[in-house]
Amino acid sequence: MDVTLPVPAAAPARPGRLPAGLPIAGLFLALVAVAAVAPGLLTHTDPLAADPMAALQAPSAAHWFGTDQLGRDVFTRTVYGARYSLFIGLTATLLSVLAGGVLGLLAGLAPRAVDEAISRALDVLSSFPEVLLALLFIAFTEPGTPSLILAIALAFAPRYGRIVRAQTLLVRRAGYVEQAVTFGLSRTRLAWRHIVPNVLGPLPILATIGLGTAIVNASALSFLGMGPQPPSPEWGAMLSESRNYLRVAWWSAILPGATLTVTVIALTAVGRRLQARFEGRR
């Protein structure tokens, strides 16, 4: 994921046509959201109901995504899995934005020594590949949803921290901050009124783009058995369970995997669009 900070564009972006894919991406995300909030609306089967007699059936009208090795409906499991993936992705991203935001603001506003300490710590963390960092974290804790969330949050926090710090340094030197000094504002009010809002403004959009990456990483770790434990229908865990049957029942791995891929693509597309809108507006 390459994240560039939304900078005020020189000229307002042309109002141009919406890319054709965007409504589709939005629609798909809405479906995923419904699946996460109320999976019962999309399917009436139990995601955990095994039926060994109906194991490894190909996709059909009765089982849209086919069935897995235990005869569970893959479509139902995929629908229920959205909750895990979205929940883990959202909380982890939220936590990492929060931690990164606080650290970045601190580094950007505090005296130099504090900035140095925070920045170097973030540098050290960023020098590890994100998945490795998350793996290390889980290795010292117990596999499961909470530690997976914390691990992802820890892995992504440095990225947001560095972005926020750079943005803070920029905003601190902005003309309007200097102007506010001449009104006699105290340092705290200056920070709260002018610096923090202008630094944090672009963050939600960056987080939308980052959410996709967080979900992919969460699934990757689940695939390795570091997340929700079977029989939970988490997408990564589903891939892991069905990978041994890939040659006889491709659907039970490929279709949840495709859902994951499309979700991430849709999230990124919408995030990029928001980012472009934001830049255009500024």
């Binding site: 102007q179 000094v181 001449t182 009104f183 006699g184 340092r187």
Partner: protein, 536 residues
């Protein structure tokens, strides 16, 4: 003789639709110097660019006739234009740093024109490049040809750009605001250079917003407004006896020695309200200010006082330290040595050398109007929040006060909920002024407050400042590179050069009988309108 350039009923439209040029017609005879004058949005640059096929892919160009050097350029394709550009018409743009390729040496850039048109043998080109650079008075041309644009000063860059424009010896030279970003002494040298090219037989089309600049070298002036030519004629005649009201407005708007005490934004002479300067009531006194940045001595022993109702002008070229003085006065930069005190007598307070906590209660006594108001506005704020921020009133009272302040600067309550980005440059500066006078300051620090504005808008803003100052008795510390503006507004002036005050005194004394060499050279470099009307 046939005209070198002939334009008949030229229309240029951009999608929107924006009708940028509406039926412009003119001819340029060989050897003439014609100036296209107008404010931003008048269509002057679009016209000039269209003449060499650079109006851009979105532009729709229509004309009854468009000929350049006997060629009909209507319906020219990009390939045809490329053969013409540089060879028949050389183009010099405003910003040489943007116009020169940062990855090319200056020599390569100039030589490129020769190569593109297959002029001379490749082996001879470095020699020719050096000749061209010395023809535009670049010192050490061989050395400079090996350097990159960023290693050259603004003036030298602009010269290099002219060298590349004349490399293929085109009969026509088009210069679009060639001196706008430059210091006045450098500007004078470049105007001399253009005049020299003319004397050598080149035809020059000069595009500028500055009547004084064009009056220095142009034979004929075309005044543009909203895409049309409203007036044209010999320079001396247009300047001495302007026929169109817009030209009269433009001429009246130029601040000069003669315009002191008179309104700039009206054509009929009208006096400004009298100002009451109280020399005994000192509001700010600076003593022996110094500022070092590492080894650079940015401000070197600057002292001044500012009395209630007085305007102190600070004039100097870029790098003279005038902005640093303003920032020290505002308490944004701590001086390396020296002190500033606010007020006089027993009420005097230390403004420098004290912690920010002690400065804060007095901050409201000094407010600032910056050159670029937009960057001084929090991008999330509406006009109401911007103007209201420094006020002490709360709730309804605050809104009433904001409306009152906006009215004082000539804006209505309908602007309250607007975002500054939706305002024009002049309106933005009015908002900045409304915000600055909100806390009823003793001193307004104006750092180039009108430099980014068109001359007619500049006139309105200067008149507004004069009205407010007369009513409130505010002292102004007015910083500008523009000697005309300073001469118009200031009571006393500090002339700064390399961080030092080289001369100071009442503005009329300093500007009519300068004693320091630098002041003399500055004054000599300023293009004035009367140089034409006096026939010099």
């Amino acid at each position: 003789m046939a005209p070198l350039l002939s334009v008949q009923d030229l229309h240029v439209t951009f999608p929107g639709p924006v009708h940028a040029v509406r039926g412009v017609s003119f001819d340029i005879e060989p050897g003439e110097c014609v100036a296209l004058v107008g404010e931003s949005g008048s269509g002057k640059s679009v016209t000039a660019r269209t003449l060499v096929g650079l109006a851009g892919p979105a532009a729709q160009v229509r004309a009854a006739r468009l000929t350049l050097d006997g060629r009909d350029t209507l319906g020219f394709g990009e390939r045809d234009w490329r053969r013409l550009r540089g060879r028949v018409a050389g183009l010099v743009l405003q910003d040489a740093l943007v116009s020169l390729d940062p990855l090319n040496t200056v020599g390569a850039e100039v030589g490129e024109v020769l190569r593109a048109h297959g002029i001379g043998r490749p082996a001879d080109r470095p020699v020719r490049v050096a000749e061209l650079l010395s023809a535009v008075h670049v010192p050490d041309p061989e050395e400079r040809a090996r350097q990159y644009p960023h290693q050259l000063s603004g003036g030298l860059r602009q010269r290099a750009l002219i060298a590349s424009a004349i490399a293929a010896d085109p009969p026509l030279l088009i210069a679009d605001e060639p001196t706008t970003a430059l210091d006045v002494t450098v500007q004078a040298q470049l105007l001399d250079l253009l005049a020299e090219r003319r004397a050598a037989g080149s035809t020059v089309l000069l595009v500028s917003h500055d009547l004084a600049v064009v009056s220095r070298i142009a034979d004929r002036v075309l005044v543009m407004r909203a895409g049309e030519i409203v007036e044209q004629g010999p320079t001396a005649q247009v300047l001495a006896a302007p026929a169109h009201p817009y030209t009269r407005l433009l001429l009246a708007a130029v601040p000069t020695a003669e315009s002191r005490g008179r309104r700039l934004s009206v054509t009929e002479p009208e006096p400004l309200p009298p100002r009451n300067v109280e020399p005994d009531r000192i509001v700010l006194s600076a003593t022996g200010l110094h500022k070092w940045y590492r080894t650079r001595h940015a401000v070197d022993d600057v002292s001044f006082t500012l009395a209630r109702g007085e305007t102190l002008g600070v004039v100097g070229e870029s790098g003279s330290g005038k902005t640093t003085v303003a920032r020290i006065a505002l308490g944004l930069v701590e001086p390396s040595a020296g002190t500033i005190r606010l007020g006089s007598g027993s009420g005097q307070v230390d403004w420098t050398g004290v912690p920010e906590r002690r400065r804060r209660p007095h901050r409201r006594r000094l407010q600032v109007i910056a050159q670029d108001p937009l960057s001084s506005f929090d991008p999330r704020y509406t006009v109401e929040r911007l103007v209201g921020e420094p006020l002490l009133e709360r709730g309804r009272a605050r809104r009433d006060r904001v409306v009152e302040l906006l009215e004082r600067v000539g804006l209505g309550a309908e602007h309250l909920s607007r975002h500054p980005r939706a305002l024009s440059g002049g309106q933005r500066q009015r908002v900045a002024i409304a915000r600055a006078i909100g806390p009823r300051p003793d001193v307004l620090v104006c750092d180039e407050p009108v430099s980014a504005l068109d001359v007619s808008i500049q006139a309105q803003v200067l008149d507004l400042l004069a009205d407010l100052q007369a009513a409130d008795g505010t002292a102004l510390l007015f910083i500008s590179h523009d000697l005309g503006v300073i001469h118009h507004v200031a009571d006393r002036v500090l002339v700064m050069h390399d961080g030092r005050v080289v001369e100071q005194g009442p503005v009329t004394d300093v500007f009519t009988a300068p004693s320091h060499e630098y002041t003399k050279s500055l004054l000599a470099a300023v293009p004035t309108l009367d140089s034409v009307s006096n026939g010099t």
